[in-house]
């Protein structure tokens, strides 16, 4: 009876030791062996496992996006209700300022409207005095002499007749 009990315990101990050895042997080569990785290529684990986003997170992202849009538009627009009483007061003040400016300003008439026309630079004082002092007399001697001579010379010119300046196309067409 005593011999049988000691044998079963020994068998159990041996089995446990074998299992331990197997576990240690399976772990040692994985830790000792370094896996080879190609350069420039991401790990397959990250590619195979996509990022999972929950429904609540999606809603939060959408809300943030729309809030940004609303804030940007609010900066550009002007709230009309805020302008009401203050805006009216400022408008009235501006109107008073403008009316005061208009009253204070004085319009001056340009001298070109009332002044006499300017004389040309070519006109000299001596010529001006001559013009204003006495009227110019007609040089009858000069004019009558050359008028008569020119008319006499024109009478001496004769123009020859060269016939009709008409070209007939009827004969050429036939």
């Amino acid at each position: 009876m005593g011999c049988v009990v000691s044998k079963s315990d020994d068998i159990k101990n041996e089995n446990e030791s074998r299992q331990r050895n197997q576990a240690s042997s399976s772990q040692q080569p994985s830790s000792s062996q370094t896996p080879s990785k190609q350069i420039g290529i991401a790990a397959k684990d990250s590619e195979e496992q996509p990022q999972e986003v929950s429904y609540s997170q999606m809603r939060e992202l959408d809300n943030d996006f729309f809030k940004d849009i609303i804030d940007r538009t609010a900066q550009k627009f002007i709230d009309v209700s805020m302008v009401g009483p203050d805006g009216k007061d400022s408008f009235l003040d501006r109107e008073k300022d403008y009316s005061a400016q208009i009253k204070d300003s004085k319009l001056l008439k340009p001298t070109s409207l009332t002044s006499l026309p300017r004389l040309s630079q070519q006109c000299q004082m001596s010529n001006l005095q001559n013009l204003l002092s006495q009227p110019t007399t007609f040089d009858n001697e000069l004019m009558s002499k050359y008028t008569s001579s020119i008319s006499e010379n024109l009478n001496g010119i004769h123009i020859k007749e060269c016939g009709e300046l008409v070209v007939f196309f009827g004969n050429s067409l036939k």
């Binding site: 070519q122 013009l131 040089d139 004019m143 009558s144 050359y146 008028t147 008569s148 001579s149 020119i150």
Partner: protein, 89 residues
């Protein structure tokens, strides 16, 4: 014949104080011109002398003087031509 006419115009331009002239025919066309803007005023000279006939009882054209700052323009009309001479004052 043309030479005599040209000589006459040359003598006219060589007169003392003459700076330009313009000769206009019966129709108001420019026959000969010398000086600044003389040819472009040919029709005006002719028309001006024709209008001056209404001022006189005899119907003869008047002798006209146009005074400017730089020169005086004398205009006279004949049976055939109208002559204008621009002369220094």
């Amino acid at each position: 014949m043309d030479k005599q006419l040209a000589d006459t115009f040359t003598q006219l331009s060589q007169q003392n104080g003459v700076v330009g002239y313009c000769c206009v025919d019966e129709s108001g066309l420019c026959l000969k011109a010398h000086g600044n803007k003389q040819s472009s005023n040919a029709g005006f000279y002719k028309s001006l002398l024709d209008k001056s006939k209404f001022l006189t009882q005899s119907g003869e054209p008047a002798n006209i003087v146009i005074e400017t700052d730089t020169a005086n323009i004398f205009i006279q009309q004949n049976d055939k031509i109208t002559l204008s001479v621009s002369k220094l004052p």
